[in-house]
Symmetry: none
Subunit: 200 residues, 4 copies
DNA sequence: AATGAATGAGGTTTCATTCAT
DNA sequence: CATGAATGAAACCTCATTCAT
């Protein structure tokens, strides 16, 4: 089907990506064959290689997408005033969103991807991502300290850096135990701990 | 009458396990071949199948070992009196221990294993492990609340359940960023947050 | 009534052939993909199949073209009188011509083609070609013997048959070593050997 | 069949090499699949990769073997005295030997190999081989000139360099036309031309 | 006539496991 | 018990050809 519209191509690309995410989440990266992805996306093996360079590229792209998704919230936060409100909204966001299957798949794929590339020298990739997330939070915490909403002795930088790994721990737990309920309860308690650390 | 002594066999088993841990940590489970393990352990591919059923069994056993190691500390804690002291000692333990390479390898392997078995119905495995860890901490927190060391409104059960995933998050971070220093700094701040949550 | 002129079509055909020759020469027949040819000729994969039946057909046609080119010289020789002069002119032709890249490419493709079809029953193709070349030279040598320019004991038929393989050997050498200088020096010495064999 | 004797392994290696030569000669390098070689040698595809790194390595090794074979004659020549005798013996050798199928296969494979590697920068490989062959002949021709057997004006170096390409041309012809008779007749005439060039 | 996405057979290579020695 | 050659299924990826647009 040549001379096909840009839209068609974009849809096909997306269909393959979705299928890949699904497969990776279900069977893991290594256990997933390109044939699996082809079948799941309703195309042929060959077509996948028209749209993507390799199975690994699919893995990479899926991870990038996931990371970008995290930053969607940044814009929402800008409109709020008050650091506490922002932190609260952040947790609200975490608590509300994770219901759909697709999101769940993305988490699984993301962690597997990290483990996957933790071998080999992809240090930079990790560090950049961490830095981005840290700065994102730092702005909020700094604001809170300056306005006096938060305690003066908050270790702004250290805390901003710690925040995300702790969150990752909770998400990892979700991946393993697959209990939505337990996950939300954990987020709430984590929220409480964070506030108790920040608020005077 | 066996040709070789029990002791010899046990040592060989251990050598293979160690080699497997090393290889898995370095290259990942999938990238590691049985040949790699054979070479690293100084035996032959065939011998590995005398001592172990499959490559996957090695993976399973390695993970169990790692879990056991965590509970070594339990005995140490019993001798201390005071819940705060125990919590402090726990963090002391985390801060002191993780220096050797072998330990580091085990962490890498463990996370990969979890991701690996998060597909398929190994729910029970995870849940049992979580339960065990939770109970371990619950005893300490409960004690603290009862003696009045900790605040009355501490959510004992929820906190005990949350504690480990958060710790896992920090360890996962270590796996990716490989900075001992950053790791320790995170542990210290986490320690502080925990105390601020628990102490009146 | 055709949509495009004959001339346009002929030019397009030629462009594809040229591109194919270029690609085959650079990467070899097997390593060249139809996509390569499409890109090099500035058309699409699909178009190539409008003008040619298959990738293999391009290979065949290219070889035929090369053979034809060899016979261009025949007309030039007719105008000369004296067998020695003709032989000398032949060598002059070889010595002068092979400078352009395209010619070089054609040689490479030609040899690869021969090897390629030396499997399978294309005996006839070879034999016909050889016969044609042999006869071409035979006429000259015969003339020389008859006029007394050449020795009487020259084995006309055998020599005419041998002449071309020897020349092929030199050209093959050029293909491998790619030294224009060495190639010319060889041609000159071969010329000398030929004359010493033919002249009294 | 482990702990297998060195002899067994050597035989197996050789069997695979022979099978590969056979297949390459029959169908060409590209048309030959590893499965073909496996079947022809009576093993499995996997086994081939125990003994050889890749299909291409088989190709390389086969070519090296062929080159070595050429130099077997060197020792025979040493025992003869007189440059003319040596040259004659050389041609005797060419005329006598090429009867068996295996030899024929080797020729086919060798030419295909050369074409194959003429793309890519394997210049050195060619040059080294040419140098070796040239020097081999140079010694003989030099001797002849010094003893006065050969003409004084023989261009020793140029001739020695030219000799082999011309021979290659004849062998190439054999590959295409597969006529033993025609091949021998060509060798004889070439012999004559060589002598007429060398002898006073 | 022109395009280039689609196809799927087929290529090379890897590797967990077995088993004869 | 120890070995490592043998196996063959299966993985990823390529590409000549077709055909809907």
């Amino acid at each position: 089907m040549p001379r096909v519209s840009e839209k068609y191509k974009e849809e096909k690309r997306q269909a393959i990506l979705d299928a890949a995410a699904q497969c990776f989440a279900e069977k893991g990266y290594n256990e997933t064959t390109v044939d699996d992805i082809a079948k799941a996306s309703g195309t042929s093996k060959g077509s996948i290689y028209i749209y993507f360079k390799s199975k690994e590229e699919l893995f990479h792209l899926l991870n990038e997408k996931r990371t970008e998704k995290y930053f969607e919230i940044k814009d929402q936060l800008k409109q709020l005033d008050g650091a506490t409100k922002k932190v609260n909204h952040l947790f609200q966001y975490f608590l509300s969103g994770k219901t759909d299957e697709e999101d769940f798949n993305q988490i699984a794929v993301q962690f597997e991807f990290w483990i996957y590339i933790s071998k080999g020298d992809h240090q930079k990739l990790f560090d950049e991502r961490a830095e981005r997330f840290t700065r994102f939070l730092e702005e909020i915490i700094e604001e809170g300290v300056e306005t006096g909403e938060f305690r003066e002795d908050v270790q702004v930088s250290e805390f901003s850096r710690l925040f995300w790994p702790l969150l990752d721990g909770i998400v990892l737990h979700l991946l393993f135990h697959k209990s939505e309920e337990s996950h939300k309860s954990m987020l709430q308690l984590y929220h409480q701990m964070v506030l108790r650390y920040l608020l005077p």
